[in-house]
């Protein structure tokens, strides 16, 4: 009896290489005669470029070339924005290297190409740039004022959207309770551990680009569009990629410019960013001001919700910049039933690094706002925050359920996840301790935060993307090839960078074809090998790419069935497939899939119409998003003397549908929770009034280490998705989405007796202390 692979905690196939240093990070790669590129970057947030003089740099030892933006003006095109969310959206020209004007600190204004990176760094010091300063535009509200300086000629408003469902006015009219809050989603720096790197080479006709990217396929198309180099002459390779979290879901200036440099010089070039360069120039995440109004009945039932966002685009619209807040548009209503909903969003230009996808992308922001407001509603009514949620959430027997924002949730069981989480957490006991500390006036107060979240993921049904005016589809592709010796090569269009696709896909294929786990290899991340794909982001890989693998296996089995029937002289209908073999029903006669692979290879005796290969291709395009959900609970201790917050315990019960590999699922949840906690407590990209980024290094932009986080207690419920044959829902973003509001709710819960109902993120000790000082006075 073969053990079913799906559901097993298989150790990862990816690990050995990564653990022994036999890695292929882009910066590890080299080519004969490789040249090193470095970029000179604007120290000004907003300025006209009066002149750039690279002549002194050109003369330095080891320097092969030096260029300014003017040198690329005719060929560099404009970096793409693939998601024009409205018809009248303003999409400014975005030259990879600034030519006339810079609009954020860090924008590239010149580059040097040298024989090694030390020479290149020296040459940067020799470039002279004259800037004529223009006023910085840093604050979104000020940017929208009529007298604000303009970031672009067309003004500072990129787009405006309003979506209404139900009678909002009626919902708020005479509502017994209206909660009105404004939350700030601070700007974040994604901080994947591997800094970006790009290498480009050419044989004179064709080009190969190696990049630390999440999206080799999208990048290939876009490089062709931007540079005019024909798509079939560009090959993009994503070698080992050290994390992304959305930050490598981008078509970057450096990728375009390295390709152009390889073409211009006819030589291989490589650029690797330093961390401080990356903090300035890897797209940032979040950065919204959220005005949220919620109307409810006296018993806590939600009547309506009104959301008005300002979303900071930064200086330009990059690949999916304007789409990020729109990914939250249908998520503010979350798991709750209500009569009316209105969502409004204004995208605003500022002289800062553009924002774009960061783990969760629009959905963490939405979840934060609604989960914070639910706690405020509970407090207003003197109700337990879990109870107020219970009164409003969709009950498990009500699925499938079409929400007020128009999504249809296929499945879920919020009751089960919440009950499990409350028990694991020891909710009642912690509430008792909280009451005791309050009574005693303990300087260290205890707070309990809850977050019952869902997300739409598995991006995405192509039809829905089309309706949202997104520039591409959301399908995924896979190929499965049976090799002559019975081993299996799987080619996936997803592009993993830490998610363990090689392992999970092997488990899926092992079950589907009845072959040993170790007999499966998975290839990815090279457009010459994985020729079709939509890449990895938005918790989509398993939900779409994994299902494509299943579909490809199904096709392989169908071919194999016809071949087996031919060889065993029976009807295909007489065959049953189990444990990797086709058996003639009621007999001992069988052919294993490996035998059939060999038979297809030799092709000595193939039936009519069966090709000499047991291979197949499939694409999968889902009908609907998937909707993982879960209940996260956080207990936080707040030192009211210093403002310091310490997380004492954290429980997460997630429902991600069917679990392919529990180790990988837990790892994703743990990492996601850590990132969400980091937003709540530690991280913020801070610009000063002149548009200078103050958090350019890891010494200033605080990322938590092991010493700053607790252990997390995880468990699961499993309500399989009905929208795909695997029943999977996606897990890449769940932890990040759920944890931020759980932590802030805990902090506010601890401080509520003091009359405090919000702390702005990150909830630094100083902010907590100031809030307390404000009410003590």
């Amino acid at each position: 009896m073969t053990v079913q692979e799906v559901g097993q905690p298989r150790r990862r196939k990816e690990d050995a290489r990564l653990l022994t240093g036999r890695t292929q990070w882009t910066d590890n790669l080299t080519r004969p005669g490789l040249l090193h590129v470095m970029f000179l970057r604007s120290p000004m947030a907003h300025a006209r470029i009066a002149s750039v003089d690279v002549s002194a740099a050109r003369g330095l030892p080891g320097v092969v070339a030096a260029f300014s933006g003017q040198d690329f003006a005719a060929e560099q095109g404009s970096l793409p924005c693939a998601w024009p969310v409205t018809e009248d959206i303003v999409i400014p020209d975005h030259p990879p290297m600034a030519v006339d004007e810079v609009r954020y600190v860090g924008e590239a204004v010149a580059c040097v190409v040298a024989t090694d990176r030390y020479r290149a760094a020296d040459a940067l010091d020799a470039i002279e740039v004259e800037y004529e300063p223009l006023p910085a535009v840093v604050d979104m509200n000020q940017a929208l004022a009529p007298d604000s300086p303009k970031v672009h000629e067309a003004g500072n408003k990129a787009f405006n959207v309003t979506i209404t469902s139900g009678d909002v006015e009626a919902a708020f009219r005479d509502a017994p309770v209206v909660i009105d809050r404004t939350y700030v989603q601070q700007r974040l720096i994604p901080s994947a551990m591997e800094p970006r790197a790009v290498m480009a080479d050419t044989d004179g006709e064709s080009f190969t680009v190696w990049s630390s990217t999440q999206i080799p396929h999208v990048l290939r198309v876009m490089l062709a569009v931007v540079t005019g180099i024909p798509e079939h002459r560009i090959r993009v390779i994503a070698p080992d990629v050290g994390g992304g979290f959305g930050s490598k879901l981008q078509v970057t200036a450096e990728e375009v410019l390295c390709l152009l440099l390889a073409r211009r010089l006819g030589k291989p070039v490589k650029w690797t960013e330093s961390r401080s360069e990356g903090n300035l120039t890897v797209h940032h995440g979040r950065d919204q001001i959220q005005h949220v109004r919620l109307a409810a009945d006296a018993d806590g039932r939600i009547r309506g919700l009104q959301v008005d966002l300002l979303a900071d685009m930064g200086a330009y619209l990059m690949l999916v910049t304007p789409g990020i807040p729109m990914l939250g548009a249908q998520m503010f209503n979350a798991i709750y039933k209500m009569d009316a909903y209105q969502f409004g969003c204004t995208g605003v230009f500022t002289t800062k690094m553009p924002t774009d996808a960061y783990r969760g992308a629009g959905r963490p922001e939405a979840t934060f706002a609604i989960e914070r407001v639910m706690d405020e509603l509970a407090a207003e009514l003197g109700m337990d925050p879990v109870e107020v949620r219970r009164r409003n959430w969709i009950k498990h027997e009500e699925f499938p359920y079409t929400t007020i924002s128009g999504l249809t949730y296929d499945s879920g069981n919020y009751e089960a996840a919440t009950e499990k989480a409350l028990a694991l957490f020891g909710y009642d006991k912690l509430r008792a301790e909280q009451a005791d500390r309050r009574d005693r006036g303990d300087p260290v107060q205890l707070g309990i935060g809850v977050s019952t979240f869902t997300e739409m993921c598995g991006l995405a049904p192509s039809r829905m993307l089309g309706e949202a005016n997104y520039g591409a589809g959301g399908w995924e592709h896979a190929s499965v090839r049976m090799l002559p010796t019975g081993k299996v090569e799987v080619i996936t269009g997803t592009s993993p960078h830490g998610q363990g696709h090689v392992t999970s896909w092997s488990q899926i294929v092992s079950d589907a074809l009845g072959v040993p786990f170790d007999d499966v290899t998975v290839l990815h991340g090279d457009t010459a090998i994985a020729h079709k794909g939509m890449d990895t982001y938005g918790s989509r890989s398993l939900v779409i790419g994994g299902v494509a693998v299943v579909k490809a296996c199904d096709k392989v089995k169908e071919k194999a069935r016809r071949l087996a029937a031919h060889l065993m002289e029976c009807s295909p209908d007489d065959l049953e497939f189990a444990a990797g073999a086709f058996k003639v029903r009621g007999t001992e006669q069988q052919r294993t899939i490996q035998e059939l692979a060999y038979a297809a290879f030799t092709a000595h005796d193939l039936p009519e119409g069966v090709e000499a290969r047991l291979d197949s291709d499939a694409t999968f395009d889902p009908d609907n998003y998937s909707f993982p959900h879960g209940t996260h609970l956080c207990a936080a201790e707040v030192d009211t003397e210093t403002g310091m917050v310490k997380i004492r315990s954290y429980v997460a019960v997630d429902d991600v549908g069917t679990v392919i590999n529990p180790l990988i699922v837990e790892g994703q949840v743990q990492g996601g929770i850590a990132q969400g906690i980091a937003q709540a407590l530690f991280e913020e990209a801070v610009y000063d009034a002149d548009g200078n980024l103050l958090t350019t290094t890891m010494a200033d932009y605080l990322l938590p280490s092991a010493a700053d986080l607790p252990n997390f207690t995880l468990d699961r419920t499993q309500t399989p998705a009905t929208s795909n044959p695997l029943g999977v829902k996606g897990v890449g973003e769940a932890g990040t989405i759920a944890s931020t509001p759980a932590v802030v709710n805990a902090i506010v819960d601890a401080l509520r007796p003091y009359g405090i109902h919000d702390i702005r993120m990150p909830c630094t000790p100083e902010r907590v202390w100031r809030a307390l000082e404000g009410v003590r006075r």
Binding site: L19, G21, W25, V241, R275, H497, T697, L703, A706
Partner: protein
Amino acid sequence: MPRITVIVDGVTYEEDVEPRVLLVHLLRERLGKTGTPIGCDTSNCGACTVLLDGKSVKSCSVLAVQADGCDVVTIEGLGTSGSMHPMQKAFHEEHALQCGYCTPGMVMAAIDLLRDDPDPSEETIRQGLEGNLCRCTGYCNIVRAVRKGAQEMGQAVSTS
């Protein structure tokens, strides 16, 4: 240009280096030891951690000339051919890595931590790894892996 002698993963190298060359660049660019990656420029991330004369250091924070005459062990020098070091194995068993970029530094720091405390508590491990950042795992499994690696290294010592 100063000439230095340095042993890396058991091999002796003699190299002429500019004084400003960082040890990590010597390893990566000159000696092809790309198993040791670079994650930051402020000594915060610890990705480039190696053992220098038996103690953990951040190889971005040592000049190659300062390593003259020293013995360097990188992630590539752990274990024996075909067999991983118990700490590497423990990271694999406990799923203590995702993208793997911080992993070489994390493993080296973990091994160093056990020099002091062969049986560290969770708290000791968390404090001991404060100089190594991971963005993927949330550290839970790393802590578990270090506990497991410690146990296995302890057993290896007691049975040898």
